[in-house]
């Protein structure tokens, strides 16, 4: 089995039948953005091995960030949030839209690019 086959994060565009396998969840978000920019297609998580389920009980984005932020030194990667929300039925695009909406209310902030803290 190759390293790529074991990648914990896998996203796919069903329309183009292309995927991205990576160990870095934010690369999935970058992949989504690049792909959406030229196609308008959303991409979906096919696999996200985070091992977080016992920690994350909420379906609310701000609560999810709140529950996860102690695990990360300088913000929760948006790719992790997108993976968690994917389990709750939100596409990556919908998750990013919702993050934007909550940020605009002051509930979330970015201690570094594409990493979130909850306020």
């Amino acid at each position: 089995m190759s390293t790529q086959d074991q990648a914990p994060y896998v996203a796919v565009c069903p329309e183009c039948d292309v995927d991205l396998r990576t160990e870095t969840p934010n690369e999935i978000v970058e992949f989504y953005r690049r792909h959406y920019r030229v196609t308008g297609h959303d991409v979906e998580f096919e696999r996200a091995q985070m091992g977080l389920d016992e920690d994350v009980t909420s379906g609310d984005i701000k609560d999810v960030v709140w529950q996860l932020q102690d695990r990360y030194e300088n913000g929760v990667p948006v790719g992790v949030i997108a993976a968690v929300m994917s389990d709750r039925g939100l596409s990556i695009g919908e998750t990013l839209d919702e993050i934007h909406e909550v940020r605009m209310t002051g509930g979330l902030y970015e201690p570094q690019d594409d990493h979130l803290g909850a306020f």
């Binding site: 292309v18 690049r34 792909h35």
Partner: protein, 377 residues
């Protein structure tokens, strides 16, 4: 000739008879080269932007990033297509959201969301909010001293646009060579075909892990076909085929082993015609479908590129046969992706300083020459 030692590399050879030096490997693997390419390749030459049929109505637009520049390509009220930097003349804000050609936007005017400076479809400044007409917050300035914003002087930065049939090209230079000069015979040949009668049917975008020039080189030759495109090559008589090289454009004429119905081709010759247009655009006429495809080979970074594959048929709804045709084309892509990613794995180790090219890789040689000329310019 092959060089394993970086200090022994030379420029791309002038011809391919004796010492057929390829473009030195550092131009593929060095991260600084992509920055050079933004200026000297994508900033100098005509680059494909998109297809005019996707923006048929006045006000329809799409965005496209070329050489690091974000552009808006829009059809004006006069029917002409224009391109502007997607950057407001006030303080440089990005104006419209990224909008793919396949899902175009529609706007009567272009409005910057930051301070609401608004431009018409010709790029001229048409209105500014009241806060730009008076100086109510500035105790040192009287309202009558406030400058008037001239529509033309404060217009958007326009970018040259020209066309080959329905294919739209942009050039970021101030004084570019004419598109007709860069395209040469390709312009006449493509304009002789009814390309505008075909509608965009589907777009498939793949990300591939190799430098964009590795894929471009692979596309441009067929020495690898016999061993690696075994299904496709069955229908091709390779010995009767020809790879034609022009200044900025080369054509791979692949003769069909058996005649194909005329209805299945949009050109007269009994062949597939794959046109490569420097630097990163192809027109693919397979000769087995009443339609054509285009590729944009867009670098993401040194190690990755996006292949934007568009397919055009008589109707924008794919028939079953057309869907099967696209699948076949996808199969060829996937076979090529595997090859170029494998080549990249070897190249990026840095072991090979300079490759060499075979006698039937004259198309690749031309591509490498153009890259070398651009870097040296």
């Amino acid at each position: 000739m092959t060089q394993w030692d970086e200090s022994q590399t030379q420029a791309v050879s002038s011809d391919i008879t004796e010492k057929s030096n390829a473009l030195p490997a550092k131009y593929f693997t060095d991260p600084e080269v992509l920055e050079i390419e933004k200026e000297k390749v994508f900033g100098q030459y005509w680059v494909y932007a998109g297809h005019a049929n996707c923006i048929k109505e006045a006000g329809q637009y799409f965005t496209r990033t070329i050489g690091g520049r974000q552009l808006i390509i829009v059809r004006g009220h006069d029917g002409d297509i224009k391109a502007f930097d997607n950057v407001c003349a006030h303080r440089g804000s990005k104006m419209v959201e990224d909008t793919p050609m396949t899902d175009p936007g529609d706007a009567k005017r272009i409005k910057c969301p930051y301070h609401l400076w608004t431009y018409d479809l010709e790029g001229e400044l048409k209105s500014t909010p009241k806060s730009f007409d008076e100086a109510s917050l500035n105790p040192d300035l009287e309202d009558e001293e406030v400058q008037e914003y001239d529509a033309e002087e404060n217009s958007l930065n326009d970018v040259h646009v020209d066309t080959i049939g329905p294919l739209l090209f942009v050039n970021l230079r101030e004084n570019p060579m004419p598109l007709a000069e860069q395209a040469g015979v390709m312009k006449d040949r493509l304009e002789a075909l009814p390309l505008e009668e075909y509608e965009h049917a589907t777009r498939i975008v793949s990300e591939v892990e190799c430098n964009w020039k590795v894929f471009a080189s692979n596309y441009s030759e067929c020495d690898h076909c016999q061993a690696n495109h075994q299904d496709w090559i069955k229908g091709i008589s390779l010995n009767e085929s020809e790879l034609e090289v022009n200044d900025y454009h080369w054509v791979l004429h692949y003769t069909h082993a058996e005649d194909v119905d005329d209805e299945m081709r949009i050109h007269d010759e009994h062949e597939a015609q794959f046109h490569y247009f420097w630097p990163n655009f192809t027109v693919n006429m397979y000769g087995t479908a009443d339609g054509y495809g285009t590729y944009i080979i867009d670098p993401i970074d040194t190690d990755r590129f996006q292949l934007i594959a568009d397919y055009y048929f008589r109707d924008s709804e794919l028939s079953e046969e057309e869907r099967e045709f696209v699948r076949t084309s996808r199969q060829l892509q996937e076979e090529d992706f595997e090859l170029v990613e494998r080549q990249w794995e070897g190249l990026k180790t840095g072991a090979l300083a300079q490759a060499q090219l075979g006698p039937n890789e004259h198309t690749v040689h031309r591509f490498h020459q153009l890259a070398q000329e651009a870097y040296d310019s």
